[in-house]
Amino acid sequence: MGVFDIYLLEALINGVLLGGVLALLSLGLNLVFGVIDVVWICYAELIMLGMYAMYFLASVYHAPLLLAAALSIAAVGVLGVLLHVLVIAPLLGAAPINQLLATGGVLFFLQSAATILFGIEFKNLGLRLPVLKVAGMFISYSRLLAFAAALIGMVLVYLFLSRTYTGAAIRAIAQDRQIMTLMGVDSRRIYVITSALGGGLAGLAACLLVLQYDVHPFVGLSFGPITFLICVLGGLGNFLGGFVAAFVFAEIISVGGLYLDLEWGYVFAFAFFIAMMFVRPQGLLARRS
């Protein structure tokens, strides 16, 4: 029984560590949706490109890891701005389905472009980070690092949103888009800044995921859907809801995977999602409308 408890504790801790990264993933998507009212279906593909950026900078060009990470984050931030300016901005007045289809198109474009440019081989950084052994439990160092970096990233975003004028405008625009003009805010500028921030968060997520997973053109499929589900479960555009939902999901995956195979964790998580959609379709922390 004692051994069993340690496994459970290990799974719970791993769930928290996974939750931090999932929370970071959902924050970028939520931010863009909350502010611009557009869902970046191709969000996970931006992460895929960020992982390739990390791979090329660190493994091929042998840049120091921190420099490679900074450059990758900046590069995906620029991609976010390009996505907004080239695809989203011209469609802002269009029907939501057109925006979904357009960013969905970008998803396949990026997947195909990555296949042509980088091939379909799985690539990785070749890092072998140690595994910590604490009180009989095994905790992966790379997961710990990813969790810490995700937390730092989220704290920085929180400080930006709560302390700066631009951050206040980002929160305000998510609540009342039409009157921003009266406040002296150029909404188009806020959209571009938000896209850069959303892209930057995807870039940070890419740096953390590439520590644990191989990169290939279709890697977005392994965490894109779960990111969307977390955002929907938390209430699309609700930052706090997304944060809570990420940890709920991560614990279900981690603890669920403990009793059967790892894949069963995902089965439980998605079943939970479907059940929740019946009970609370507006999301876990939905506001009264």
Partner: protein, 234 residues
């Protein structure tokens, strides 16, 4: 101060304003009255840049408002308290006020403007960390007016400030107008509460079906036949 000449505006193919000309002089309080759907809110939106007119001129202290990007009109000294307040409900009172002082010039004076607004509305200081959406209607109206005053406007546009408020709160809001004017702010106010607004403004325009039907001193309009005609159709 504010001059509108032959302004036409609308939404899509629907025209809401027909050749509206109107003037507000510095230091005045001017009312715009008229029945529901007369175009009063559209008029306010045209002045603050929320919608662009299809024809006509609009100047503020000699500056062409229509040549100014909409988000920079607040920097011309025009602040608009929109209909039904439109606060950011899930932001604190102080964050709402911060948004009102978003323009670069206002940011530099944030502390000073905040002190002015809190002096006018001590209730807002007490509630500064409270979410704006959780306050009473009257407090929200104070917050909306305070937010507009953060940009240090010379002209304040008030759209139906008494709507949805209890009578005793309405009296309070109208009393506040005197304080705001004493601070040197010119006021253009749109109201359905005709009797009350005509007692606090010097002049008023009667708007009906998108056209100015009458203009004059508040006292004249108060017992004028034109008013009865506009509202009762007799």
């Amino acid at each position: 101060m504010l001059q509108l000449t032959g302004v036409r505006a609308g939404y899509g193919s629907f025209q809401a304003l027909f050749d509206v000309s109107l003037e507000v002089r510095a230091g005045e309080a001017v009312g715009v009255i008229g029945p529901n759907g007369a175009g009063k809110t559209t008029l306010m939106r045209v002045i603050s840049g929320l919608i662009r007119p299809t024809a006509g001129q609009l100047t503020m202290e000699g500056v062409d408002v229509l040549a100014t990007p909409p988000h920079r009109i607040v920097e011309l000294g025009i602040a608009h308290v929109p209909e039904s307040r439109r606060l950011f409900p899930r932001m604190t009172v102080e964050d709402n006020l911060k948004m009102g002082g978003f323009a670069p010039a206002a940011r530099a004076k944030f502390r000073q403007r905040l002190a002015v607004v809190y002096e006018l509305f001590p209730r807002l200081r007490e509630r500064r960390r409270q979410l704006a959406g959780s306050m009473s209607g009257g407090e929200q109206q104070m917050c909306a007016i305070g937010r507009a005053l953060m940009s240090e406007p010379r002209l304040l546009l008030l759209d139906e400030p008494s709507a949805g408020l209890a009578p005793v709160v309405v009296d309070h809001v109208f009393a506040l107008l005197g304080t705001i004017r004493a601070a040197g702010v010119t006021v253009l106010i749109v109201e359905q509460n005709v009797q009350q607004v005509l007692r606090v403004v010097e002049r008023a325009y009667l708007l009906k079906a998108g056209r100015i039907r009458a203009a004059g001193a508040a006292g004249e309009l108060l017992d004028g036949a034109r008013l009865r005609e506009a509202y009762l159709g007799v």
